[in-house]
Assembly symmetry: C2
Homo-oligomer: 229 residues x 2
Amino acid sequence: MARQLLELCGTDPARRFSPFCWRSRMALAHKGLDAEVVPWRFTENATLAALGGKTVPILVDGDATLTDSWDIAVYLDQHYPAAPTLFQGPPETYRFIAAWTDTVLSAGVARLIVSDILPLLSETACAYFKESREKRFGMPLDQVTAEREARLPEFRASLAPLRRALGMQAFLGGAAPDYADYIVFGSFMWARVVSPLRLLEADDAVEAWRGRMLELFGGLARAVPAMEG
Amino acid sequence: MARQLLELCGTDPARRFSPFCWRSRMALAHKGLDAEVVPWRFTENATLAALGGKTVPILVDGDATLTDSWDIAVYLDQHYPAAPTLFQGPPETYRFIAAWTDTVLSAGVARLIVSDILPLLSETACAYFKESREKRFGMPLDQVTAEREARLPEFRASLAPLRRALGMQAFLGGAAPDYADYIVFGSFMWARVVSPLRLLEADDAVEAWRGRMLELFGGLARAVPAMEG
């Protein structure tokens, strides 16, 4: 089998924490497809360039190489039409939830957990990550996440649309998960793998959904080493 | 033709401003269906009760009566399958954008324009609306919308997911609008009909989309009298 997924990891190759890589890993499982994990670490850019990409995930599936999580999902539905579909309608109808996840959810998660990523990285990867993210945030990373417990209520309030939708049905896809669930879940896996901070309260409908997502495909996501307490 | 849509209006029956009624009016147009406008005003609850409903819109289509905008959309796709579909996938996959519209967009619009509704209403309707909404907000309505110009940047920032999605494609539905577009557009029609406040900047991708929505179906939405300057 020549199917491989390049996934971001820390020094420990088991600690896979990229939200975008999780979208693709769950998408592959949804389609019933195995793919060898190829651990990738920050600064290993020559590996990406050789495949024609700039970021992970990258899927290599026989002759096909896909260098973006969105393209991977579209490809999987096109090339494996007999397996359960990721997109139950045109992919365009999933753009809004991806945009919400990127601009609201992941942005909010980053402000709570970004400094927790540093200890998981090698010296080289850590130096790169620290410099590039401090530039992006305009401040030291421990300042980004300062007083984060006090900011949890605001973060949880930002999840109101998710909470309302998941109060009406088990998954964003309906009775069963679809790619919308994997998009959103990726951001929660990012937090789970790197940070001890509990983002959600126990009685939150979003937390109940996250529990269901962790159990999918034989507990695929739950099995990955996590810092979550 | 026995098709009627009960729609909220002000003293002037042409001023139809309910975001939920706009969802259904646009949905009917999308399906190529006419429906007589039956103007409904706050406190005319006996009319709703006679039809088995508590709120507008209500669609009466021959023997069928639908008392909720969501149910109306689902019904239209089921009973008029030959016309263009409102839901390009299962309706459940549209729950998230409806939840976002209700909890973020409409909540934000309300805090900017709710006091502008009062002058459009009859004395009886106005008294009801004022009392029920002041109870909901816990303050006088002119206090809810106080200093609203200063809060516009925050409101516009809350539209980031919409802006990003509409920067990638012409409509939330893709190259053509679908029910997701009508859900979101309803909240903008609410503001347009009742308030002179300009919610969006001219160079905003959301404003460009709103312009396209106003032109649909021969300018159906643009033709309605509006307070927008």
